[in-house]
Assembly symmetry: D2
Homo-oligomer: 285 residues x 4
């Protein structure tokens, strides 16, 4: 595997931007292997993901960020992040009592499908300890009560920082994340909500869906923001139901949906293909 750099950026739209940046890469010996861009015409915002082979690139890896910032970012008001494919981001999984999402994440991880490390699992319950054991991943239990919530989250944050966790996946974690943790991981906490948001925000969406008599149920994976179930949506999907379903079968049918939607979102995040702005996402192919 050759080393590549991945640039994710957005800026005010302006003529010649693609030409300028591809020329920067090209003229310095970089070979572009991926380029996708999007222009939000109404807002006048330009988004781009470009990845290039560093083999012949004349700017050293650890200088690219600085060069790009000085040569282009300031000039064109570009907000950007730069990644390298040889760094494996560190992902923490938070779970409660349901195992379907975490099993799917770990099966993909174990099979080597994702360029990621999972140094730990955090839970507010003991129920899924066994899952940690099966996959040899440290499983930390932080039982949360009204009284100890702030304290427990502080301990969790300490652990996350100690392990240098880059992003967090809430795999049906049934606890509201505090503002403090969200601010430390902005657009880096991925949740799965078991409804087609914005329908059925909050608790017990399958009960609400059953009550309303909908003909499809959905699942939504989004970044966590301080407003409940209102963060930028990364992925959604639905499955058809009928009058023959009750709450129990909705829950059953929803499980496959939830895990697939969550895994798709996590995969896009790992691949550095998600850009966020104004509470929305650009998800490149």
């Amino acid at each position: 595997m050759k080393q590549t750099a991945i640039l994710l950026m957005h800026s005010p739209d302006q003529p010649g931007l693609i030409a300028t940046i591809t020329e920067f890469i090209h003229s310095n010996g970089g070979n572009i292997i991926y380029l996708d861009q999007h222009t939000d015409v109404d807002q006048g915002i330009f988004f781009m993901r470009v990845e290039w082979d560093l083999t012949e690139f004349v700017i050293p890896s650890d200088k690219i960020k600085e060069y790009f910032a000085i040569l282009y970012a300031a000039k064109y008001q570009i907000t950007f992040r730069l990644y390298f494919n040889d760094y494996r981001p560190k992902m923490a999984i938070f779970v409660s009592k349901m195992s379907h999402c975490i099993y799917d994440l770990l099966a993909k991880y174990t099979a080597g499908e994702w360029n990621v490390e999972i140094p730990l699992i955090i839970s507010n319950h003991n129920d899924l300890k066994e899952v940690g054991k099966r996959f040899d991943i440290p499983f930390h239990v932080f039982p949360v009560t009204k009284e100890n919530k702030a304290e427990q989250e502080a301990a969790e944050i300490a652990l996350l920082f100690e392990k240098k966790i880059d992003f967090i996946v809430l795999a049906r974690y049934m606890q509201v994340i505090s503002e403090d943790m969200i601010n430390r991981y902005p657009n880096k906490i991925i949740n799965i909500h078991h409804s087609f948001l914005p329908a059925f925000v909050g608790a017990k969406p399958y009960h609400a869906a059953f009550e309303r008599g909908v003909k499809l149920i959905g699942a939504t994976s989004h970044y966590v923001t301080t407003e409940l179930d209102a963060g930028p949506i990364i992925e959604q999907d639905i499955v058809r139901i009928s009058h023959k379903d009750n709450v129990e079968t909705l829950v059953r049918k929803g499980r496959d949906l939830e895990k697939i939607v969550l895994s798709r979102a996590v995969e896009k995040h790992i691949q550095r293909k998600v850009l966020t702005y104004q509470n929305k996402t650009v998800v490149f192919n």
Copy 2:
């Protein structure tokens, strides 16, 4: 085509009900050509649609309702409707300015796909008059203002009754239907709402969907009740969108979705396959 009777019923669930009713049909010379049933176990309600060939049935068509009411309905607390396949229900279409739904309805009607008559189209605008002409269907314009709304609806109702309209299809009719008309056509006014209800109730759902940054847009066909966009859902479907879409392309993609979802709901209604209870539907296959 042989004459058939269609019985749509629901009742408190009780042992032996299918046996009793199929025996009633069978022992009187009826040949069952369709039977589908559903039991809502939680609520203890039994639903059934049964259709039988009347060729050898010993009870005369015009007496079946009476016989069934006296012999079974009272005894088992059955709520039922009885239809005959040789009656073509009369359907009115209401439109405003957008033509995609009405064209789809009329294309199916003209091709003879539906056992229905469409004696008239009602609109609050002149824009689609031409569509009525193309298909030789009287097109009545009732311009509605705040001041004349009650009066105009009264005139519409008079026309609907004069033409013996059985049910109404709102094919993107951009006017709230008054309580009076709804009460005269309970569960007989089919609307298409351009969102995945209950998300984005009310006006401008595509704008709201775009604002929220959803990854799928939906359409919902439902019976109109006095609460806006809250009636029993007959059919829903979705189409995938992305960050590349703006409100204009959502509207464009939504058109095919809306018309298909509406047509599916109308078809089920015409086939007498929709049962409503407690603001939900049972839709038989």
Copy 3:
């Protein structure tokens, strides 16, 4: 959990059959908790799945089969199978080198979602031995070569019979099953084929799909018959692709599809909701 009996049957269609059988259950103290039926009008075949609570049923469990056979099956030419919900069928999993399907099956099994036992895994390779260990399920390796195939399969069959295996799931098992084994497990070997059958029968369907330039890829779960990839289809689904995909991303996208389609088919089989006839299935809801 109350004990129930499940009757799966088909027979020549004849008037009064539902009435007769529901009356049999009802008059003997059985409480029907599920009934679904289907009539193939063209072929004149009637299919039914009925499940009833045995708590008050006057015929002892171990006599029901005999009574039904003598009282009804002979008379109405009924082909039937009778199951009890308190028997957990024994399922064997066959795998080769890819883990996505088996992980999904075992995650569901371990979470207690399925009324089934999995006493063993069989493989023609060592690659997934670890998976067996993680889930504490005996993992038997039978390396198959051209020379030893008959012998190895005989050993497999011996093991399957010793463990009283009821049905087999081929979770991306990359070996053609011999006629002998198929005949011992008729309509009891469930395969997942990674294409939308009958398109792309045989090896390397993702390569073939890529070559043909299709816009959707599919997966098909079916019972194994002696004709390759031609057995009765239980479940199919698709996922959208585009010109941006290559064989590698098709394989990647296909994995989630394959495992979900296979799991849905296995679940229906476990629930005794699949009936086969004339190389097709009736799959009840």
Copy 4:
């Protein structure tokens, strides 16, 4: 509406191509309003669609083709087509006896959704003459027999050329198109086949789908080539069916699917978003 130019191109992939072409547009006063590109890494082919506002572009419209050919196409081995948004392409519709596809095309056309002209309809039957009348479009009947086929097609071609038809849509036209006509309209004849190709090539795909017992039916829109049902696929979609369906209901369900899939393909073609190579398509968003 401002005048724009649309460039559709492919070429051997080479570094700096996007930069070069966007620079060409930019430095000559063009404002890019759409750019999408795709690189087939395995084949080393680069594809691009770029559209730019001509208001300030210094090269006159009628010279752009020449300038681009001389300055870039030869040098980089670029195959390209150049379009202008103020030209409305001329589309002919071919039909036989089924009206669902043509009604959908004409409803969209009449509503002004497509930048296209439809000067004529051609049929081998009289059945849909009325449709031409309803929409005021000349309807030409060319009854085709084995004996007169060559002659009739020659007359059709003469008419198509006289009316300067740019492309042809086969809206369920039940006649094989001759090689001569295909060669005159290469990748300009769009067909709808009522199956998920390559499954069920040829006649009666719904019968074949029913026989095989599939759980989904599909439709495929593709460019017509001399090999039957084997041309480059533009769009496909599916709809779920079940054991309750027979051939008649498959045909019924397939109608909505066919028309939507065909309309999507036609729309992409009209928008100049389809590129073909090696019997495949690149379809830009």
